[in-house]
Structure formats: structure tokens, C-alpha cells
């Protein structure tokens, strides 16, 4: 029997061991040219905020989730009743999931700065916080605009496929107001999400309030009569309804404006005010 000797120096480093610092510290190289004397351009802020919404696992899965729901909805419509649906109905199927889930992207864009504590870096690199607040709002809205454009395209493709492959009679008519309603539904939801995020600075709180409040409101309104009267002015689900039907009276515009002011503009305004004053920890 031969004795095996293990070399004392051949200690195996486990493959999961992390790298070490370099043995010699190198001083970082200088960046050529003078240091900037102008602030960070606003377009750059929007670009970075946009990227931050999509570069995390949470953000990516939200978008994948929306895509999956839309695919399922369109498939069901395609086979249900022989695919005999107007373009407007297909559009509803593509817009609804977006309007439902994209506000969460808006909420996370703000609350992650606090829950993941990235605010220390974000507001360290741009101390003029109001610019960050606007960059977040506009970046989230531009996600909404792209999503809505995509939902138009997807609905169009689905409707055209139903015409081509299932032989339905096409119905492309869509009311301008209904289109505005569908787009507004998506964008207002996102703006509201951003506002709630700034208001609560906390993901669970913002998400729960965003989703529970409208439902709770509808239930209460069905039980309490004076709330029902208020709901005609304040319940966005109600005030937006005439948009989809394609005609609004002056009073209905007033209802819509009031509800938007209360649920979208006010949270955004108070949220931005809070964001610019809060201590970043």
C-alpha cells in the first residue's frame, strides 16, 4: 500500500468562494476634462428612471405577467363565440390588464427608493429631488404610453386575425372618446400609482390602498345613500364610465375632473411635497 501524501499548500479553494480584493490597491484613473459645472440633464434622469423600472426582477416579472394575461385574454376571445367581437372589445381585453397592473410599476418606482433604500444613492446623485419626482412620473407615464400603443397594435392584430382566419365580419369602428377613455384609464392609473407611492413611501401600504380603496368605496356607496351621491363625483370607476360609452355631458366632465383631482392630482401633489422634504435613510 502506498501512502498518499497531501501537499500542505494544495488547499482547494471552494468554487463558490468569493474573489479577494487585489493585493495592490490601484488609485482610480482620472476622468479627462474639467468637472461638470451644469447639472444632470433632465432627459438623462428620465432615461435612468425608465431603466430602473425595467432592470429589476420585480419590474420585469410585472411586465411579463401583463403580457401573459393579455395573451390569455386574446386567445379566449379568439375562440369564444367564433371570435365574433368588435375591435373595441379586443382593445378592452388588451387595455384592462395594463390598466390593472401598470400602476404597480408606478408604485414600485417610488417605494423601492425607500424599501430597498436606494434613495441614498438616487438623491445623493440628484439632490434636487423635485426633478427626480418628475422624472419618475414622466418615465412611468411613458411606459404607459408605450403600453397603450402596444395594446392598440395587439388588439388590431387579434381582430384582423379573427377576420382572416375565423371569417368574422370586421368592425373597426371606435369612438374617439372611447379611445381617449382607454388611454386615460391606463395613464391615470399609473399617475395615481406614482402619487400613492410618494404618499406612502411603502410598497405594501401603497399597493393595498390602491387596490382596496376603490372596492371598499363601491361597497360602502351601495350601502350608504349620501356616499352614493358623493360617488357620482368621486368614484373614478363611475366617472370614467361615460368616456367608454362615447359621450359626456358637461356635468359628467365635471364629475370626471373632480374625481381625477381628488385621486390623481392631489396624491401626486402631496406626494411630491413629501418626497422633497422627507429625510432619506
Amino acid at each position: 500500500m502506498t501512502a498518499t501524501t497531501t501537499s500542505p499548500v494544495a488547499a482547494q479553494v471552494s468554487p463558490t468562494a468569493e474573489s479577494a480584493l487585489p493585493t495592490v490597491a490601484k488609485v482610480p484613473s482620472r476622468i479627462a476634462g474639467p468637472r461638470p459645472t451644469t447639472g444632470v440633464p433632465f432627459t438623462r434622469l428620465i432615461h435612468v428612471e425608465l431603466r430602473k423600472m425595467l432592470d429589476t426582477r420585480a419590474g420585469r416579472w410585472l411586465l411579463i405577467g401583463i403580457g401573459a394575461i393579455i395573451a390569455v385574454a386574446l386567445t379566449i376571445m379568439f375562440f369564444n363565440e367564433g371570435g365574433e367581437h368588435a375591435f373595441g372589445e379586443y382593445l378592452q381585453a388588451t387595455t384592462m390588464p395594463m390598466a390593472l397592473i401598470l400602476p404597480v410599476v408606478g408604485i414600485l418606482a417610488v417605494t423601492a427608493e425607500w424599501s430597498q433604500r436606494t434613495g441614498l444613492v438616487t438623491f445623493g446623485l440628484e439632490p434636487r429631488r423635485i426633478r427626480v419626482a418628475w422624472a419618475k412620473t414622466l418615465a412611468a407615464l411613458s411606459v404607459g404610453v408605450c403600453a397603450f400603443a402596444l395594446s392598440l397594435v395587439l388588439a388590431g392584430i387579434a381582430h384582423q386575425s379573427a377576420i382572416t382566419f375565423r371569417g368574422i365580419t370586421g368592425d373597426w369602428s371606435i369612438d374617439a372618446l372611447a379611445l381617449l377613455g382607454a388611454g386615460g384609464y391606463v395613464l391615470l392609473g399609473i399617475a395615481q400609482g406614482v402619487g400613492f407611492g410618494m404618499l406612502f413611501k411603502n410598497t405594501p401600504a401603497a399597493v393595498v390602498v390602491y387596490f382596496v380603496l376603490p372596492t371598499a368605496w363601491s361597497i360602502l356607496a351601495s350601502m350608504v345613500s349620501w356616499l352614493r351621491d358623493a360617488a357620482t363625483w368621486l368614484d373614478m370607476n363611475q366617472t370614467m364610465q361615460p368616456l367608454f360609452e362615447g359621450s359626456l355631458t358637461g356635468e359628467q366632465w365635471a364629475h370626471l375632473g373632480t374625481s381625477v383631482a381628488v385621486w390623481v392630482i392631489a396624491p401626486l401633489a402631496v406626494g411630491i411635497w413629501r418626497l422633497t422634504r422627507a429625510e432619506v435613510k
Binding site: 479577494a20 480584493l21 493585493t23 488609485v27 476622468i31 431603466r51 429589476t56 430597498q116 445623493g124 446623485l125
Partner: protein, 299 residues
Amino acid sequence: MITVERLTKRYGPFTAVDDVSFEVKPGLVTGFLGPNGAGKTTAMRVMAGLTPASAGRATVLGKPYAALPNPGRHVGLLLDASAQHAGRTGREVLTLGALLMGVGKHRVDEMVELVGLTEKEANRRVRNYSLGMRQRLGIAHALLGDPEVLILDEPANGLDPAGIRWMRDLLRGYANEGGTVLLSSHLLNEIERVADEIIVIGHGRIVAEGTKDELLAGAGTYTRSTDDDALLAALAAESVVAHRTPTGGLQVDAEPIAVGRVAAAHQIVLTELRGGGSRGLEEMFLDLTADAAREEVAA
């Protein structure tokens, strides 16, 4: 250059930072030393414009932080290595910073290499990073914009002794090129190894400040000789206070040179003679830490 003038930060009845003034000079590494909860982090957050001061002010490069244009190109911040989105990769964290500062993506590669993260590690999500790796990522982020000033809160936390040495060499080289460095720590030996100037803070107030040599001096002398009894008598004759230490040898309240002269005059052979080192600073620091610990127990 960082200037802090009569800075106070109160949270209700609690005063986190109490009328603090100091200056952090370029070309030096300044250590901000204090036990946990002494107000270091709060003071640093005020410097970075993240926490509003209750009174007084802090300026960086002569301006309030918020007035710096594209501050990432002037000041490198590492306020909390754990404050990164767990779902982003290390490389993505740096890329976002580089995009915002407008420094180009090659700078990201350079910084990844500088802190010794491998390609694979840089592409891993921060969730899977150890504290040491987060610190390295944070240091890389702070250096991304080639800043003139570095403000680092507990940067050596989570680094091993070799890492602390690396940090010292890095900051030394950076300061030699004219950079201003303020780094905090709650560990005296960390600060001792890295800093040129030390500011000691306790209960929100500055309790000592000066160059490391100044603060380490005045701690007396430790000496051993072939005949400690004779040396003790000789020192007493010169009215120098000295006493035996429990582990042998003498602790003398005088500079080493004075002790050496006495020994020479009395022809006593010294076997050891050295300054008390950080003993004075350490005792002051331990008192502060003990105070803080007592308060925690009382609270």
C-alpha cells in the same frame, strides 16, 4: 474640502448631532470615530443633503451639497453598503450611476476591476452578495465619478485585515493626489490604520480632534529595565510619576526621551522604551463606548 459649522440635528427631544464644527482638508484621510449611535451617520447624511439640519450648516467644496452641479462628479458617497436594490446586479448598479453622471460605461469595467469583483460576481444580483462584496461595490460606486471628495460611512465594515490594508493604500493614494477623504468607523484600530487626522465624536459632540500623532501622544511611556526598582526610585527623585504595570515594567507619565535621560543619568539598562501609543485615545474611546452602552441599558 468639507466644512461643518455649528451643526445640530434634533429628533424631537433627542439631539443626534450637537453643535458640531470641523473641517476636512484635502490631501488627508480624516477618520470620524465614535461608538455606534454617536451621530456619525447623521452628520454624514446632513453633509450629503439627505437629512436637513436643525441648525448650523455643512458645505462641500464651498457649497451646500444640493448646490453642486452633477454631485456624483464631485463627491463620492458611500453611506450604507446595504442600501442597494437586491434585485439588481452589481454591474447594473454601477451602470445606472455611470449613466446618470455621464461618465461612460468603460468606467464601470474599470471600477469593477479596481475593487477586484470578478466578471461573474459583477453579474450576480446584490441579494447574493456578502457584506464585504457590498462594501466593495459601494466603494466602486463612490469612485465612479472621479470625485474630489469622498464621504464613506463605515467602509471597512465587513472587510478582512487584508481588505482594510487595501482600503488604506487606496485612500492614501487618493489623498496624495489631492483628494479629500472623510471616513467613519466605530473601531479605533481601523481608524488608526487608515486615517491621518481623527475626529472623535460621542453623544453628538466632538470630544477630541487632531492629527493621529497628536492624539496618540500624551499617553505616557512604557518601559522595562534590568532594575525596575532603581528606575522607579530614580524617576521619583526627578518627581516623575511612574507606577508598575500588572504585567511587569513601568508606566511613566513622561515622554520616552525624558525617561531615557533619567535612565542614562543613573546608568540603568533599559530593555524596552516606547510611547504609550493609542492607550490614551483608547481609554477615552472606551469611556465613550461604555457611556453609550450604559445608556442603552437604561433606555
